[in-house]
């Protein structure tokens, strides 16, 4: 990615020679592009990004500062009241919101580790050579192409306490057959996490698989020559080779899990009680059913802030410690030299 980008910027843009004379005043190289060139290249993307991401995000901040019911004519400015209400657990918006944030937290904490480890195991298996490998790769990825409505309605029937096949077959093999998979806790979380892992593991597995295929075989050979065991090879060759991808997968999985909505909306309807009502569900209800756009926008920003902090922690955990050390060494050397 980065070499090609650098190339695009270095290359003279067609028809950019005339404005380049203006640039020479500032002592730029004669082959440097006009100042507008990179922006022109970026324009198509920026237009979409601006219209559908930046503008709504900015408008969202503005909305969150108002009592904004879009069916009403006036949207009184309320300053930070929407945020303060969220911080007050006794208010009608604060209490349920933190309940739903907690539900999102429970789901994220239980699904992310599984969604990091299980797809890795699947990818390691799929990276080996065996007959029918391509078929199995397709099988593991297959659920991911189904929509959330499809998998949720499917599993709701499969997991039904009284008429579902899961309990029926559990009973046939002599296991407890009366577990209320969707209407009691902690069974409801087990169901939601298991269904989500089944549904989305193919996506992470494919990314892992691509990364595994990028690790040079020579490294494994060299490790083998040095007498490294399978476990040592995994730990010292495979995992470091996966590090950049692992960071992407971790951040992405956390964000996806924190945005969970469809599964609990359709499978448990947020129940039993409100225990599986996630933050997104709460935001959607507030904004689109109760039309409280201001409050919903404030909730969204609180959730975004939490996710940004989490992502920051992940970036910090996965930082390239060797690279940091090298840079530090270089700096020290430069200082010594001067």
């Amino acid at each position: 990615m980065s070499p090609s980008t650098a190339h695009a910027v270095d290359a003279p843009a067609p028809g950019a020679s005339a404005p380049a004379t203006g640039g020479r005043r500032h002592g730029r190289s004669p082959i440097a592009p006009a100042p507008a060139t990179p922006w022109l290249f970026l324009a198509p993307f920026l237009a979409l990004f601006g219209t559908f991401v930046l503008l709504p995000a900015g408008l969202g901040v503005w909305i969150s500062l108002h009592d904004w019911d879009y069916t009403f004519v006036s949207h009184p400015f309320v300053g930070l009241r929407n945020y303060l209400d969220l911080l007050d657990p006794s208010s009608t918006s604060g209490g349920p919101f933190w309940e739903s944030m907690r539900a999102t937290g429970v789901f994220t904490a239980s699904s992310v580790p599984l969604l990091l480890v299980v797809p890795l195991l699947v990818a390691l298996m799929m990276n080996a050579r065996f007959p029918g490998r391509n078929f199995l790769r397709a099988v593991y990825f297959a659920p991911y192409v189904l929509g959330v409505a499809v998998i949720s309605v499917l599993w709701r029937y499969l997991l039904d306490t009284n008429i579902g096949p899961v309990n029926h077959y559990l009973g046939l093999v002599g296991l407890p057959d009366a577990t209320a998979w969707l209407t009691s806790q902690p069974a409801a979380w087990v169901s939601l996490v298991a269904v989500t892992v089944w549904w989305t593991l193919g996506f992470n597995a494919v990314i892992y698989l691509a990364a595994l295929q990028d690790i040079p075989a020579e490294l494994y050979e060299a490790a083998q020559v040095d007498g490294a065991s399978v476990a040592q090879r995994f730990w010292n060759v495979t995992l470091p080779g996966l590090r950049p991808v692992l960071m992407f997968v971790t951040v992405n999985t956390i964000i996806m899990s924190a945005n969970m909505f469809g599964q609990s909306y359709l499978m448990t309807e947020g129940g039993p009680g409100r225990s599986t009502r996630t933050a997104i569900m709460r935001i959607a209800d507030t904004g689109l059913s109760s039309f409280q756009m201001g409050s919903a926008a404030a909730m969204s920003y609180v959730l975004t802030l939490v996710l940004m902090l989490l992502s920051g922690v992940v970036f910090w955990l996965f930082r390239d410690r060797d690279a940091v050390r090298t840079r530090a060494n270089v700096r020290t050397r430069e200082k010594v030299r001067s």
């Binding site: 408008l59 019911d69 959330v148 909505f261 947020g270």
Partner: protein
């Protein structure tokens, strides 16, 4: 399955709604028209202007859909200069989309919504009063039960033209009843308990599955009304579903599970599927399920919901034609829309084939219901109860009352605790709404 599927479409279409909503935001941000007081359109009985095409929004996605489309097709055939185009979406999506679309000036020309949604949409300025239309059609309180006539009023104006009423009904498997030697459908607490015992003796282990979700809250409301209680203060100032009658209603629901007539943890839809499969003998569900049951070939019959907790009373709702507010009204379309509503009201007898009960007494007693499954239920129309016309109540109910009923039936919380906690929560939400909608 209209109701059963009603909440599901929302997940898929959330994004779509959000986009519409965003459009509405952008528009409403710069518009300054008044939303508080809406003008009623003048009545016109006929339309002889230039050809117009009306967009007609409704939520008849279930077995009732083909019947509605049949009526629309007939209307189009009979009117050369009016073409009605139906746009049918799931109800849950409908109620999210409509306010956004109308605010953005992209609303329909005519539509149908549930009676309990009229006040919310009237208060938001999404729909216009229809008093001239009702007067012009000669529709008066005499042609309707007072419960429904009162329910279409908001702030001194009427906002809906009633098409039908639909209530909960008791469905029972006639084969099971024969096996158990039950000759007549139970009507009160005593005969209902006897029937359950007889069915169990005949070998039907779980004769009455108790749902935690839909339509559990409708059964709860029916029970509270039977006991003489009210779930909400009529002026919208407080939730009272934790009254002694409410607690008695939920305790009875839970006792059906505790006494072994129902298995525990009956999740969404399970009781209806079980009934269709002949696994349970009795179920309470909406009369809109009649066509679905007819198709299933199940030996069944329908009767009014028995008065287990006191006097006969049952939850009901009603489909209402409405005129959406127009940012820039087209007089031709408004006139044509009224002709359409008037025609539909005249032909509401044919709508009975969709399993519904015509709202107008004159139509109801004209013989259109003779021999239909819903005929015995239609006779109990005076016992039908509607939610009070309080703006925003529907959303509050699904966030509080439905959670309390589910928890009570599942045994997660005691009926009394669940109801009083959720009722308190509902009251504070209602107070906020009262302030928002200006009392």
């Amino acid at each position: 399955m209209t109701k059963h599927l009603s909440r599901r479409g929302a997940a898929r279409t959330l994004t779509g709604t959000a986009v519409v909503a965003l459009g509405a935001l952008a528009l409403s941000a710069c518009s300054s028209g008044g939303a508080a007081q809406r003008e009623a359109a003048e009545f016109s009985a006929t339309y002889d202007g230039p050809a117009v095409t009306l967009s007609y929004w409704n939520g008849f996605t279930g077995g009732d859909g083909p019947f509605m489309q049949g009526l629309v097709d007939r209307f189009n055939e009979e009117h050369d200069n009016i073409t009605v185009e139906s746009n049918t979406v799931e109800w849950a999506e409908f109620y999210q989309k409509l306010p956004a679309a109308v605010t953005a000036g992209e609303g329909p020309d005519v539509g149908v919504m549930h009676v309990e949604q009229l006040s919310s949409n009237a208060a938001r300025g999404v729909i216009d009063p229809v008093d001239p239309l009702l007067d012009g059609l000669g529709l008066t309180a005499d042609d309707f039960t007072s419960a429904i006539w009162d329910a279409i009023e908001h702030d001194g104006a009427r906002y809906g033209v009633p098409l039908d009423v639909h209530s909960l009904a008791m469905y029972y498997n006639t084969e099971h009843f024969e096996d158990a030697g039950i000759a007549e459908a139970p009507t009160d607490a005593e005969s209902f308990a006897e029937a359950l015992d007889a069915l169990q003796e005949a070998g039907y282990e779980h004769p009455f599955w108790m749902p935690a979700r839909w339509p559990g809250h409708l059964m709860f409301l029916s029970g509270q009304w039977q006991g003489g209680g009210e779930p909400y203060a009529a002026d919208g100032s407080a939730a009272t579903f934790d009254s002694p009658e409410g607690v008695a209603s939920l305790e009875w629901m839970r006792s059906v599970v505790d006494d072994g007539y129902s298995p525990g943890d009956v999740a969404q839809d399970a009781q209806y599927v079980a009934f269709k499969n002949g696994e349970t003998s009795i179920t309470f569900d909406g009369i809109w399920q009649i066509n679905d049951l007819e198709e299933s070939g199940l030996p069944y019959a329908a009767a009014p919901v028995p008065a287990v907790l006191g006097e006969p009373a049952v939850w009901a709702s009603s489909h209402q034609f409405f005129l959406p507010h127009q940012q820039s009204p087209d007089a031709d379309k408004v006139a044509a829309a009224q002709v359409f509503i008037a025609w539909m009201s005249e032909h509401s007898g044919d709508w009975a084939q969709a399993g519904m009960i015509p709202a107008r007494e004159s139509v109801r007693t004209s013989g259109v219901l003779d021999g239909t499954v819903q005929e015995p239920i239609a006779e109990a129309i005076d016992t039908m109860r509607f939610l009070p016309p309080v703006p925003g109540l529907g959303t509050i109910q699904s966030e509080t009352l439905e959670v309390a009923v589910a928890d009570g039936v599942l045994g997660v919380r005691s009926p009394e605790a669940a109801l009083s906690e959720e009722s308190g929560r509902a009251t504070s939400l209602m107070e906020e709404n009262l302030a928002r909608f200006g009392g």
